[in-house]
């Protein structure tokens, strides 16, 4: 994260530099605009050709400076884009990435209200499902409830489901998964399904291979 901050500070410096370059240019343009008629007033007929040549040279200089500023601005924009991509890579690198998804199957014995996710006893997500979202899950939708990074090693993932169970009774159940994080992204699915034999909902936490 410190590295990202440093990169952003550098980008900030680039931007400041670009504006610092642009500001004197405008000042020069204004000064030049003010100076030109004065020069004309001082020697109206003596050296019209010299004046015209000087004006051309000044215009040429301005064009060149303007091109430089435009080029600098383009560099800043390119740098900004590269930093954005770098930030994404650094914040969610594929190797340490963990994503958790929620899915529902049937849902006759459970109406989903919310899912709270804890990793190593720290709450990382708490999502309230609206009626429309719950219906989308029942139609086969999968919701990504969390994306983050984990160090390699053992971790404990606890998912708490709240909602209405059989006979419209408030229902709160937890499911745990011991996760061993190695190299590479890991995907975990929190699946809510019906266990028809016991007329109860079932909460399964499984890893996608």
């Amino acid at each position: 994260m410190n590295r990202v901050s440093t990169m952003f500070s550098q980008a900030g410096l680039w931007l400041m530099l670009a504006f610092a370059m642009a500001a004197p240019l405008h000042a020069q343009e204004t000064a030049a605009a003010a100076d030109t008629p004065l020069a004309g007033d001082a020697a109206p007929a003596a050296a019209p050709e010299t004046s015209a040549a000087a004006t051309d040279a000044t215009t040429g200089d301005f064009k060149s400076l303007d091109q430089e500023v435009q080029s600098l601005k383009k560099d800043v924009l390119d740098l900004n884009r590269e930093l954005f991509v770098l930030e994404e890579d650094l914040l969610f690198p594929a190797n340490t990435q963990v994503a958790v998804f929620v899915s529902m199957d049937v849902g006759e014995f459970f109406a989903l209200d919310s899912v709270t996710l804890k990793i190593d006893n720290k709450e990382v997500a708490n999502y309230l499902y609206t009626e429309r979202e719950a219906q989308a899950l029942l139609k086969g939708g999968v919701h990504r409830v969390y994306i983050g990074n984990l160090k390699t090693g053992d971790h404990e993932l606890v998912a708490l489901f709240t909602g209405q169970g059989p006979h419209e009774r408030d229902y709160r159940r937890g499911a745990t998964l011991k996760l061993t994080k190695g190299v590479g992204a890991r995907y975990v699915e929190l699946k809510i399904s019906d266990r028809a034999s016991r007329a109860q909902p079932e909460f399964i936490v499984k890893e996608w291979e």
Binding site: Y127, L128, T130, E131
Partner: protein
């Protein structure tokens, strides 16, 4: 005393924040989902395409008591024209029963939501009570009103008519 306590709570809640809600004008409204008094969960983004008014209130806030019936009148008038009104209570979770009682006592017909984790209040930089936010059909914050004085509902109505006509 209750008002003083509430004010202190609000100050503590918002400690460390230098922004105010008006800075959100012209910005997309932060999305949220909250539990409502009726038990249903409501998500702001599901009301895209409607003009949404969010009214932050608390039981310890005197002007909120005056504002809520006025807002309810506007809701009754413009509901069919595409107005959604959400009352967001920011009391602590142990006071939600009192908040529910107050909302029922004032007979408000619009959905009342509970932000007991104060996440939505933080997202909207609530620094005054009551706070009323008007969001256009595209989900952009168009107006923020801090506090309430009798007669302010006329300005609300004018603004709403403008937003509903867009």
């Amino acid at each position: 005393m209750a008002a003083l306590f509430g004010g202190v709570c609000l100050a503590l809640l918002l400690a460390g924040q230098s922004h105010c809600a008006t800075s959100l004008i012209g910005q997309p409204a932060p999305d949220f989902a909250l539990r409502s008094l009726s038990g249903e969960n409501i998500r702001l983004s599901e009301h895209l395409g409607e003009v949404v008014v969010i009214n932050f209130w608390a039981t310890w806030c005197g002007p909120c008591r005056q504002e809520m019936p006025a807002l309810d009148e506007l809701y009754a008038k413009y509901k069919l024209a595409g107005l959604t009104l959400l009352g967001v209570n920011i009391d602590d979770s142990n006071a939600s029963a009192r908040a529910a009682e107050m909302a029922q006592g004032l007979k408000v017909s619009y959905p009342v939501l509970f932000d007991d984790r104060k996440e939505v209040a933080r997202a909207f930089d609530v620094s005054a009570m009551p706070l009323t936010v008007m969001i256009d059909r595209e989900g952009v914050v168009r107006q923020v009103y801090e506090g309430f004085k009798p007669g302010q509902q006329k300005r609300y109505a004018e603004q709403l008519r403008e937003l509903l006509n867009q």
